[in-house]
């Protein structure tokens, strides 16, 4: 086993790539620096955590089925929703997207042999695994897990009010996973900036890769703030600082003296400066997945490619200027600024929606499971987006803030992205990763159960919120008409749970009775479908010429190049209009369609 240096020699040949003779079995897994293995480890870990957090959600739902629920105690309930939210947000959705799928797919999509820093990549995974274990360790310590919600509002999160070990574990777990995310972000950006294949200009990168680049930047903006805030919180808890803490600074009248103590609002500012970009760190990768899937199963190029890229950038940019829309009811923030910025995010999001619809328009839609999941994502995110616009208006937020309306809203967006689009990506890339297909019929059963269950779970929560049911309550009184809605929501949750059992069956079937996938089972567009399934060590033995953002399609369908304008003719050689550094779109008017793939050694 050796360091592998990949020389590309003139004539397009790759020199011999050293075969792995390294350790096998467990040791191989521990020492790997291959982005594909790391990506897969990430995915398996995060999906396992998703199942755990889903189980916790079922506990929440069972407790709320009846008023004065007695399924679990108040304390247990508080731990349950804290861990559900924390695992879903910090350990599932993000790591699944940028540690799992992006890690696996981005180097393939830009034609790179690996991530730019393979060992750093491995370290990211180990930190993430350590952080996940640390957070789960809370279940085993005296006093239980953290119980201050996934947002850990100070001063509730200071040692006076939540003194347990579980809280400390929670903080340290987030420090670990925070570094893991930062390293992955750096790695993705460096890979995209430095390891693209010749001809893969920035404006020929697949949208998924673009979105991961932007996500990487957002990670670098957001996560350091969280880590710093957590370190300060830890100091407050154990080293007697008063950054957020209010202990011992009451006046004789029993009122907290603002000058003598820490600031509760500071935590909220810091947390949400991380927290809102985090929401888009969770959303953008999944937008990217949907943007890969719609064109492939519509058999058309993505509509408005350039608009998509700029929409992604504007969403990311705006998302860093809206943090205080989670603080409208604190009475301490500049309402119009944050309201306008938040409302404006609807514009680029709308552009994305219309581009997705435009991609399907006049296509030949093939309803495979990934496509269905993506359409499920569209519907879910549409409603989540519309209610998001409502929440961006402070007077409306004053009413629905921290009620079940908000719970329903953020599940529609988070579930829509992380689950619908996330598992769309899972079904879509599974053949590439394992070289075998998932069963499409079982996939459709999964989809239908999930889709119905999703609406049955979360629509009642909107109604409950408007009826004034606060979130994070372990019990609610009788006589308010809340029970029937809660029962519906619980039934929906169990449908979702069932649908994920079907997924397990599906994976088992594909394992037991493999159906070989071939290199490109979907007739897909992007580079990763050019190589074998699963790809060889260091990914490619040869590459096609890259003349548009769909090199594999161009290679397979030289007679169907992208048509840039509605009435325009097909571009003679499938050139995208976007020059990189090299100048305008005027060069290279070769006539023979797309250059053939360059053969391997």
């Amino acid at each position: 086993m050796t360091d592998v240096i990949i020389p590309q020699v003139a004539g397009g040949e790759y020199a011999h790539v050293h075969e792995e003779h390294g350790p096998t079995g467990l040791m191989k897994w521990i020492t790997t620096t291959d982005h594909k293995v790391i990506g897969m480890s990430y995915m398996i870990t995060s999906v396992a955590l998703f199942y755990i957090a889903g189980l916790l959600a079922l506990g929440i739902r069972v407790q709320l089925t009846t008023p004065h629920g007695t399924f679990i105690s108040f304390q247990q309930y508080n731990e349950l929703f804290t861990m559900h939210g924390s695992i879903m947000m910090y350990l599932f959705a993000g790591p699944f997207a940028f540690g799992g799928l992006a890690n696996y797919i981005v180097p393939l999509q830009v034609g790179a042999p690996d991530m730019a820093f393979p060992r750093l990549n491995a370290l990211s995974y180990w930190l993430y695994l350590g952080g996940s274990i640390m957070m789960l360790m809370g279940f085993g310590v005296a006093g239980g897990t953290a119980d201050f919600g996934w947002v850990a509002y100070a001063p509730l999160s200071t040692s006076t009010y939540t003194p347990g070990l579980g809280e400390d574990l929670w903080i340290m777990a987030l420090v670990l996973t925070g570094f893991s995310a930062i390293f992955t972000g750096v790695n993705l950006i460096a890979t995209i900036f430095y390891l693209r294949a010749p001809g893969m200009t920035m404006f020929r990168m697949p949208i998924f890769t673009w979105n991961m680049l932007v996500t990487g930047i957002l990670i670098l903006i957001a996560f350091p703030v969280l880590t710093a805030a957590l370190v300060m919180l830890f100091c407050d808890r154990h080293f007697g600082t008063k950054i957020y803490a209010v202990t011992g600074c009451h006046t004789t009248a029993g009122i907290v003296d603002a000058h003598a103590c820490g600031s509760a609002v500071l935590w909220q500012n810091l947390f949400w400066f991380f927290g809102h970009p985090e929401v888009y760190i969770l959303a953008l990768p999944f937008f990217g997945i949907a943007t890969e899937i719609f064109p492939v199963f519509s058999r058309k190029p993505v509509f408005g490619y350039k608009g998509m890229v700029f929409a992604t950038m504007s969403i990311a940019a705006l998302s860093t200027g809206v943090w205080a829309h989670h603080m409208f009811t604190t009475g301490t923030v500049l309402l119009p600024f944050f309201s306008l910025m938040s409302l404006l995010i609807a514009v680029p999001t709308g552009i994305k929606f219309f581009n997705w619809i435009g991609t399907m328009w006049r296509g030949q839609l093939v309803y495979t499971t990934p496509m269905l999941m993506s359409i499920g994502f569209l519907f879910a995110f549409l409603m989540g987006g519309v209610t998001g616009v409502m929440l961006a208006s402070p007077p409306i937020d004053f009413f629905v803030h921290t009620t079940y309306f908000v719970v329903a809203h953020f599940h529609q967006v988070l579930f829509g992205t992380a689950v619908f689009a996330g598992f769309a990506g899972f079904y879509y890339w599974y053949p590439k990763m394992f070289g075998r297909m998932l069963n499409d019929r079982l996939g459709k059963v999964h989809f239908v159960l999930l889709f119905v269950g999703f609406w049955v779970t979360f629509i009642p929560q909107y109604v409950l919120g408007l009826h004034g049911m606060p979130r994070r309550v372990a019990s609610y009184p009788t006589g308010l008409g809340w029970q029937s809605w809660n029962i519906a929501s619980t039934i929906g949750a169990f449908m979702i749970a069932t649908s994920f059992m079907v997924l397990l069956v599906n994976v088992w079937v594909s394992w037991r009775y493999p159906v070989p996938a071939g290199d490109n089972p979907w007739d897909a567009h992007t580079l990763e479908w050019f190589t074998t399934s699963p790809p060889p060590h260091h990914n490619y033995t040869h590459l096609p010429q890259i003349r548009s953002e769909r090199p594999t399609w161009d290679y397979n369908h030289p007679d169907a190049p992208t048509i840039l304008h509605r009435h325009g003719p097909g571009h003679p050689n499938g050139h995208g209009p976007y020059a990189g550094d090299g100048g305008g779109p005027t060069h290279g008017n070769g006539s023979a369609g797309v250059a053939p793939g360059v053969p391997a050694t």
């Binding site: 390294g22 521990i30 550094d581």
Partner: protein
């Protein structure tokens, strides 16, 4: 590298504008600090890429000065580049390494020290130091053979 630098400098410009307008509408220092930090995040690498973009084109600094070597643009930045244009060594990719795991375990144990007791820190730090030494040696040797 032009698009890369434009991308990063765009971030810098956006956050520059937002920092200024946020400061003068709110005079709130926490948020302003974070926005200024984000501006710096765009400025630093953005200038770096712009510098190299100009350097490749033959300028010595950003706009001025001349070098005698004009590299032109990287193949991945050229619309008409052929795969063969990328011929040559891409990079060295370590085949496999146990040190990330050791480092990760060290960090895990080290942070646990804050929760369960300082003695764990000794274990954590020794693992981390071992990993750092190990990974350095590995790189100098050019990987484990």
């Amino acid at each position: 590298m032009k698009v890369e630098s434009a991308f990063l400098l765009g971030i810098a410009t956006f956050f520059g504008v937002i920092s200024i307008s946020y400061w003068f509408t709110s005079y709130e220092d926490g948020g302003t600090m974070m926005l200024v930090g984000a501006t710096a995040l765009g400025v630093l690498p953005g200038c770096y890429y712009y510098f190299w973009h100009r350097r490749f084109r033959g300028s010595k600094y950003f706009f001025w000065g001349k070098t005698d070597r004009v590299v032109g643009t990287r193949p991945e930045d050229r619309d008409d580049a052929r795969i063969e244009d990328g011929a040559g060594v891409i990079s060295a990719f370590p085949g496999s390494s146990v040190w990330p795991f050791v480092f990760g375990s060290g960090a895990f144990v080290f942070l646990l020290a804050f929760v369960f007791g300082v003695w764990l820190a000794a274990v954590g730090i020794s693992l981390i130091v071992t990993a750092l030494v190990g990974v350095t040696a590995e790189s100098r040797r050019g990987g484990r053979h």
